[in-house]
Amino acid sequence: MKVKGFFTDIGGASRVTKAREAAINNASAKADPVDPIRALADAAHPGPREYTLTKVYDASPTSKTFRFEPADGHVPVFQAGQYVNMHFQIGESVLTRAYSISSAPCEARPGKHVSFAPDENATSDKPYFEITVRKNRPYFVPDYLFEQAAVGQKFICDLPFSDFFYQPLRDSKNLMGLAGGSGITPFASMAKEIANGALDVDLTILYGSVKHTDIVCGDQLEAARAKAPDKIHIVHIMSDDEEWDGEKGFLTKELIEKYSKEDTTYFFCGPLPMFNMLTGIMKEMGVPEKRFRHEAMQQPTNVKMIPGFPEDQIGKTYKMTVVRGIAETVADAKADEPVAVSLERAGIPIDAHCRGGECGFCRAQLLAGTVFVSPLGDGRRREDKEMGWFHSCSAYPTSDIKVKIPII
């Protein structure tokens, strides 16, 4: 077909070329290397950076709070409920561990805020974040923090991560935090943020402990509640404490119903058995799925708790060939430990974050051999499943394996 007579003009190509030439010739010859969008992205997600341990204080007779101040004075903006990924070099091992941040986001902002730390109860204008760790049984990283970490020591910290926080586009304003043991820490962060007037929600915390002396962050929770008694409600439940005159027993449907408000969004942080129990309760209560949020759970160290785990593998050790670029490293891999742990034991860095299979930071390629992937929190993409990629924090070798991981 022919275009209308209007288009007898064949000079268009030359004209637009001249126009482009002119646009370029008339432009400044001074380079402008500033990219404010990347600067903001980097400020919000700076990656692993150095922080100094500046304060350690008791959060209960068996737990401690560790405060970290950034070397460059900047803690990225985070949401109450998110976690920090701590990097450790302990002996030959290079490893990472995720901890929910127990301080409030506003404590990380320059300027004055109430800290609620025991000997401060005033204002502080140094940005920092805190984690609270319980020592209840021999365990690699808590042992290190309790016994070796000293004020003044430098740590590599990477934050923030996770979508375990109040999302106003999705969640109702009535939140209920369901916590057991040190699973209280994200709710401590939320409570302090509310007390500082920086988070506008109503928060009820149902917190299960064995005895009242096991309560983690109890003083800080109470101080926050006292500051915002209309918005923060704390219910302690003791499973085995004769002296306790409050709620006793376990977190039950009756207790949850008793303290729930209309259209509540439930947040849970704690161990797998408690999650399984609460999932059942939520179903019985008819709580819509989207109103029950939970933090990624680490794969249980007792692999028998993982549904479908091939128990005949327990105790076996395989050969693991690790490919990074053109380099190959050979190491042992225990069949009852995730590939990520074997890598860490071998001193090979793998940037695992959630350690529950969900986040995918430790994504790796299986080049040869077989692995069992835990169905708990399996966050692999469909095509990754089809093509043999796995998340190394939740995959267990079932033969000699060859894996490719990023060079870190």
Partner: protein, 513 residues
């Protein structure tokens, strides 16, 4: 420990569609010694997905153009077939539904020139044939563009063989459309895709408009069954099978240049890697202003080029999983473009703000890919495409609240224009902005659409000025700033073009040696 060889023939910066396609094209031409360095821990760049609360969610792709049905593959589909990259394509059911309440327009167009023209005729009787003629003109220009973007030819030959292309090259989309004297309603209906090229139609070269409309209406559009991550993974796998080395989480910070020739790259980690050629997924803006080392190797012409050609629009999206099936939610269309009023200049002004945005596009993925969610859920996104300048002053402290505001406003705008209520059905939600894009893929100012298409930066001019734009020997670009422009289809073509230029230089004796 040594992770890299001492030398590679070609280093490709970025394992996104463009970089992977460049690698495939090089491999097809016999170039095997290739290293791809990707910032993220996944291939594909924006052609990717993420998992939230057990749902896999498509990150950015609305629809893949230039694929075409098996029996009439278009350029990109044919290339993937030829390379042995077998993607499970699902056809998107309609081209688009367009809703403009102020003019009482509500129409759905399907692929097929005659079909779409008939659908317009059904609502605006008597105009179908003219619309059809218009589509055929678009198609002629489209065919020419596909030839010319890879085959240089003389002006005379061009005029002989690609007459309509030459004759429309100097005009905007509206200027050409106006010669058909369509009523305003039809003009608006035929403008719906404008935001995908990020230029108002009184400024957009008709050439680009024609490419876009002909491609979508001729071949329809497609999505991959296992999300665009499937496409990215299958491309990556093939590239690796063909012998290339791919390393994730390696951001290239510097391109090393000596006496006007590329000599290597340096990564953020500190690895220095020698090579003869670099194909950069990073825009010229970033390369010339930040990456060339030493900076004195950057000619003034290159700086003027990036300063003189403004960036195109960037997406802001709210991506959701909704409780309920599309049917229960009342969502009937895969893709709806909506505007209260299709006044181009006021819409364009609106794109310079941080919202609320007046021109929205929504995607209900279930309607092309019913298996994208478990039964009873709907995967749904709403996107606006503003100019990045509105975001340059955002402070870190204010950013979370800005994301919430954008999400809320996109949802409210969609509900207002379509009458479909979704805000109380949100099961999972994430808002993405240019900052999100910058974080994951490192794109310059979070920009994914390259340079603004305009009569001052016309695709035809880019083709003509290839030599002037090529200022450093051994350096090619495979990104949205390439000759074929923006979008995931053109990304593939841009990558292939970069590979062809590298292969050509290698044949000539290795320009960088």
């Amino acid at each position: 420990m040594k992770f890299y060889k001492d030398h590679y023939d070609v280093v490709i910066i970025g394992g996104a569609l463009s970089g992977l396609s460049a690698a495939l094209q090089l491999q097809a031409k016999g170039v095997k010694d290739i290293l791809i360095l990707e910032k993220h821990n996944l291939p594909g760049g924006l052609a990717t997905s993420y998992v939230r609360g057990g749902f896999e969610i498509e990150a950015t792709l609305h629809e893949m153009m230039s694929i075409g049905p098996k029996e009439d593959r278009l350029k990109v589909g044919a290339f993937f077939d030829e390379m042995g990259v077998d993607i499970d394509w699902l056809r998107v059911p309609e081209a688009y539904r367009f809703v403009e309440p102020s003019k009482k327009i509500d129409i759905t167009l399907h692929a097929g020139f005659r079909k779409a023209a008939d659908e317009i005729d059904a609502q605006y009787p008597g105009w179908g044939d003219k619309v059809y003629d218009f589509f055929l003109l678009c198609n002629t220009v489209y065919d020419s563009m596909n030839v010319l973007s890879v085959t240089p030819m003389s002006k005379l030959q061009m005029l002989k063989e690609h007459e309509q292309f030459v004759k429309t090259a100097g005009y905007t989309a509206y200027e050409v459309m106006d010669t058909f004297h369509f009523p305003d309603e039809i003009k608006d209906i035929l403008s719906a895709y404008w935001i995908y090229v990020g230029s108002p139609l009184d400024k957009l070269p008709f050439t680009i408009y024609a490419f876009l409309y002909a491609d979508y209406l001729r071949g329809g559009s497609y999505v991959a069954k296992n999300f665009s991550h499937e496409m990215s993974m299958k491309l990556e796998k093939k590239v690796e099978e063909n012998g290339a080395q791919i390393e994730f989480r390696q951001e290239v910070e510097k391109i090393l240049v000596k006496n006007g020739h590329v000599t290597g790259v340096r990564t953020k980690r500190g690895d220095v890697i020698n090579c003869d050629y670099v194909i950069s997924g990073a825009y010229p803006n970033k390369v010339y202003s930040q990456m060339i080392e030493p900076a004195s190797e950057v000619p003034a012409r290159a700086i003027k080029q990036v300063n003189g050609l403004p960036l195109s629009v960037v997406p802001v999206s709210v991506m959701m999983v909704l409780d309920g099936t599309p049917e229960e939610l009342g969502i009937k269309d895969y893709n709806i473009f909506s505007a209260e009023d299709m006044n181009m200049s006021s819409l364009w002004e609106n794109e310079k703000s941080i919202g609320p945005y007046k021109y929205l596009t929504s995607i209900c993925l279930n309607l092309a890919n019913p298996g994208c969610c478990p039964e009873g859920y709907t995967q749904f996104s709403i996107t606006a495409l503003p100019l990045v300048n509105a975001f340059l002053d955002v402070k870190e402290e204010d950013y979370p609240a800005l994301k919430e505001k954008i999400g809320r406003e996109l949802i409210a705008g969609y509900e207002r224009m379509t009458g479909i209520v979704i805000h109380d059905k949100i099961h999972e939600v994430e808002v993405s902005t240019p900052v999100t894009i910058s974080h994951y893929v490192g794109a310059w100012k979070g920009s994914i659409y390259g340079n603004l298409h305009s009569m001052e930066n016309h695709a035809v001019a880019r083709l003509q000025m290839r030599e002037e734009d090529h200022v450093i020997e051994g350096l090619e670009f495979a990104c949205a700033a390439g000759m074929s422009g923006n979008g995931m289809g053109p990304a593939v073509t841009n990558g292939r073009a970069a590979a062809k230029f590298v292969a050509l230089a290698m044949e000539k004796g290795g320009a960088a040696k």
